[in-house]
Amino acid sequence: MYSEKVMQHFATPQNVGVIEDADGVGEVGNPVCGDMMTFYIKVNNGKIEDVKYQTFGCVAAIAVSSQVSELVKGKTLEEAKSLTKGVVAEALGGLPKQKMHCSNLGADALARAIHDYETRTHGQHPCPHRENQTAGCTQGCCDTGEIS
């Protein structure tokens, strides 16, 4: 059912854990299946210097979090922001159809961690969905906690 790459990440997940003094923390829960994922990032010079995560989820979710952590470690925030679920799934050698949503979990949790970092450092972060920095998010993502 799962690709070799998925099984490899699942068997030996990379970068597991918590960063106590993280610069950004992002948590997502999956309403479909009830699974949870938390990402921690340490940022230095606009780059993700360190990344860790915890996952309460299926095999795909565990592999996705491990894969995401590998993909973004050492990357700039801009590079990390462009990470999509498609890229994650592809890096994993594909995911079963009914598990594609699990790859959202990884990209979303990371996006939230970056969002958290930006909110902390700039107060008002440069949201792509805002007309200007005083208007609300047109997507409603910050207000509802959903990042699309």
């Binding site: 059912m1 099984m7 699942f10 068997a11 997940p13 597991v16 854990g17 948590e27 479909v32 299946c33 009830g34 699974d35 949870m36 994922m37 938390t38 915890q54 996952t55 309460f56 989820g57 299926c58 095999v59 979710a61 565990i62 009914q98 949503h101």
Partner: protein, 384 residues
């Protein structure tokens, strides 16, 4: 694949060697059609009769009350649809929220097609209160369908009490007895159900065959329509090797019942105690008493069932989360949800289901191997 420790016997079982031995002659040599006029077909008909008697004997039924089907699902579908077709003016169904999909999905479909359904719930221990059946039954109730034992938790339902109620109220009663067969005795003389479903591959028989008990005198309408097989109650050339295998499996089930119930029950208890005592934040799903002797469903908090299964799989240990046919779907088991198990527990639930082939050593291995698996996964978990 290395040696397998198979603890997924509620999903399907190993076919008993004696069963295969019985099937081979009808596969290899006696391939005739029992409906044929010639003696070569007739010889096959005798084997069909014998299997019917073997199935009937396990239930203390009359051979004429046994209809062979393609499995538990077809039996379930047939019973419910027959009850509806033979009483077209009655459009109310009573069933539970924890039935197998073979009943659950069918009844949901019927609900969409305009039938009224009363869905009975269970309590935190998985028990069904028979009084709920009494309250639910109406003048226009066509059938009450309640399983004898739940496939995920092993919890038993009070079919005897429910049968007394449906008798009194003159309503048809179907029981999905797929999981109780071969694990605990069930006699249709003691418990007057009108329909009873069983499945061969759950009792060390081959897959793709089952039976439906239809009490004598109960009106019936066939589900699969065509030729006159099964006395006009189920069309299609009979699955002779499967039926012969099922017959033998029933005979063996009756023989092994006492001895295995006790031995398997002890093994299951040892497994359960071993795991619950060595793994923190674990709990039993469902009542500890009043359940099948071979089944235990244990919830490991903070971890996810699929991940546990795959790590166990690497050690050759086979078990399941939820029922086999819903695994692959994302939602936690409808049975555990109906019991009100919180989701952090429901997600990490594993069902171990043993059989007469399970050994002491296998239980030892699982007790030894599971704690480090859970610990490893908990390291990943944001809840810990």
């Amino acid at each position: 694949m290395n040696k397998v420790i198979y603890m997924d016997n509620n999903a399907t079982t190993r076919v008993a060697p004696q069963v295969i031995r019985e099937m081979l002659p009808v596969l290899e040599t006696w391939y005739g059609n029992p409906s044929s006029m010639h003696g070569f077909g007739g010889a096959v008909g005798k084997r069909l009769d014998q299997a019917r008697k073997q199935v009937a004997d396990l239930l203390q039924a009359d051979p004429g009350e046994i209809v062979f089907t393609s499995g538990g699902t077809e039996s379930d579908n047939t019973a419910i649809l027959a009850a509806l077709a033979s009483q077209p003016h009655k459009r109310h169904i009573v069933t539970t929220r924890v039935e197998h999909p073979a009943v659950l999905s069918l009844v949901k479909d019927l609900e969409e097609r305009g039938y009224t359904v009363t869905w009975l719930g269970v309590d935190r221990k998985g028990h069904l209160n028979p009084d709920a059946v009494r309250k639910a039954v109406r003048k226009d109730t066509a059938i009450v369908s309640v399983m004898a034992a739940n496939n995920e938790t092993g919890v038993l339902f009070p079919i005897d009490k429910i049968a007394a109620i449906t008798r009194e109220k003159d309503v048809l009663l179907h029981t999905d007895a797929v999981q109780i067969m071969g694990k605990l005795p069930f006699s249709v003389q003691d418990i007057p159900v009108d329909f009873l479903s069983l499945s061969s591959h759950k009792i060390h028989g081959p897959k793709g065959v089952g039976a439906l008990y239809v009490r004598k005198g109960v009106r019936f309408k066939p589900f699969i329509i065509g030729g006159h097989q099964e006395h006009g109650r189920r069309a299609g050339t009979e699955n002779i090797p499967g039926i012969v295998g099922l017959g033998k499996a029933c005979q063996l089930a009756a023989r092994h019942l006492d001895e295995e119930t006790i031995r398997v029950g002890k093994l299951r208890d040892r497994l359960e105690e071993g795991l619950l005592s060595s793994i923190d934040h674990s709990q039993l799903n469902g009542d500890q008493n009043n359940r099948l002797p071979n089944t235990t469903s244990i919830a490991f908090e903070f971890v996810e069932g699929e991940a546990i299964l795959l790590l166990m799989n690497e050690l050759g240990i086979c078990a399941s989360s939820g029922s086999a046919c819903t695994s692959g779907s994302l939602e936690p088991s409808h049975v555990l949800r109906a019991m009100g198990i919180p989701f952090t527990y429901a997600h990490g639930s594993i069902r171990f289901s043993l059989s007469r082939y399970t050994t002491d050593q296998e239980v030892d291995t699982v007790i030894r191997e599971l704690p480090p698996i859970i610990a490893r996964l908990r390291e990943l978990s944001p809840f810990c």
